[in-house]
Symmetry: D2
């Protein structure tokens, strides 16, 4: 398998949506409206500064995984930080290094952008993900609090 | 005590720095250079879009606490999210509602900005902070991973 | 304040029950029947091998706190381990070292029994307790699973 | 595969030791002396009241897994509790329900003993184990503190 990591492109809409829907189903958000996917995809394609960048993992013309990241300000680091928000590998493509390749690609993109600090959040019980994350990143003692809405 | 929460202003540099230094000492980052504080303060005063906003808690002319927050993109929420990065209350002003008032002020500012989703990260063992956070926010199961640098 | 830590005695029934009830209310188990307290107290007084031992903290004739511990087998340690199950300080006696003195007393009793390994479990969000525990013990990464009943 | 769960027997010493050594290596305790295994095995065979009971999972004459449990006093439950201390499946027998069958066997034994409350502790980052535990047990918010020795 030779996985290629590349920027998401207009032609990827359908397989990208299938993957992103799988991602949201994993987080128990099924039945998102089509407008949700349209809007997110348009933003990835628009490449507006400060907005999200999408990468996909492709093998033999098939999309196996995706990641979405952005940059934002950080008061202690003038160059800001890179926030990897979404990461997903198709179920039948797991265990082949797709997730790892996507994370590495974000690391490289962040270096190229001069913003080497990359972080992400994951649920404490995302065991499969954390098996990978423990190999390529450092678990911190930071936990997230949300305003109740 | 009548605490006023207001935007940080040029005249606050010295007491603001004392508070922000206390914050970094709490996180075991003592001896930060003066340039660190100069740069952070300049950014708070500059109010550049996408950069940090600073609020201070004042009582009878004395600064008792601070908070710094910013907005960043979120792929699932078109309006983005509000990230409350720093929160600190002077040690001799604890237990008087200063931290709570600062968080509430960020909530209100976020509402006014049309970005009601506010979140922050804290160390799992920040017991004193979490006693407050559990009252004004929701603990999530999300934990943070950092790229090793 | 000169707190004395001593074995629970027959005469302690009433103030002991008040403390133990406070402990169970903290864990959201109010309205336990009188038979529950009778049974537990009888066991502490009976001092049957393998059963629980009770200590109380007394100041000027008043009970301020309690702890209950037992010993049980451990397959890796021939001498077994000491399990500190209950620890409670009256609300108006907090912050005076009562909990610490009770834990230290269990440590000494365990040493005297030739079973130096002492452990206990606490809820992750027991912030007040953990402020103390972090000073006198080591947090482990072990979490508890229960059979659903 | 028809896995049989049965009490550990004298003839099992060699394969049992291989499994128990694998278990300790998982927890980064390699190179335990032979006396450690001799002593533990003797206790399992002796079946002394209050001491550990050992079960093994056998398939076609081969030992695939083990578990060791004991009973100890609990002040709130007159009948006591069942502590499942060790659980291990041979690496080449994973994913076949061996661990689950061993846990179920402990549940049944505990029921037969009139001590239905079964619990165990596991490291927060024991992802593979927790994938199973989340299916057969309830994660609690309890974490373990150890006396520093």
């Amino acid at each position: 398998m030779t996985v290629i990591i590349r920027a998401v492109a207009e032609k990827d809409k359908e397989p990208w949506q299938r993957l992103y829907d799988g991602y949201h189903r994993y987080y128990e958000r099924p039945d998102l409206p089509q407008s949700f996917f349209d809007q997110a995809f348009d933003r990835l394609i628009a490449k507006k500064p400060g907005d999200f960048i999408g990468l996909v993992a492709e093998d033999d013309g098939k999309l196996l995984g995706l990641t979405h990241y952005t940059y934002h300000a950080h008061l202690w680091r003038p160059e800001g930080v890179c926030y990897l928000q979404d990461l997903f590998t198709a179920e039948d493509a797991r265990g082949k290094g797709v997730g790892r390749a996507l994370i590495q690609a974000v690391y490289h993109a962040a270096d190229a952008a001069g913003v080497p600090s990359v972080y992400w959040l994951t649920q404490e019980f995302n065991y499969a993900g954390r098996m990978l994350y423990d190999q390529v990143a450092t678990r911190t003692p930071f936990i997230r609090y949300n305003r109740p809405l």
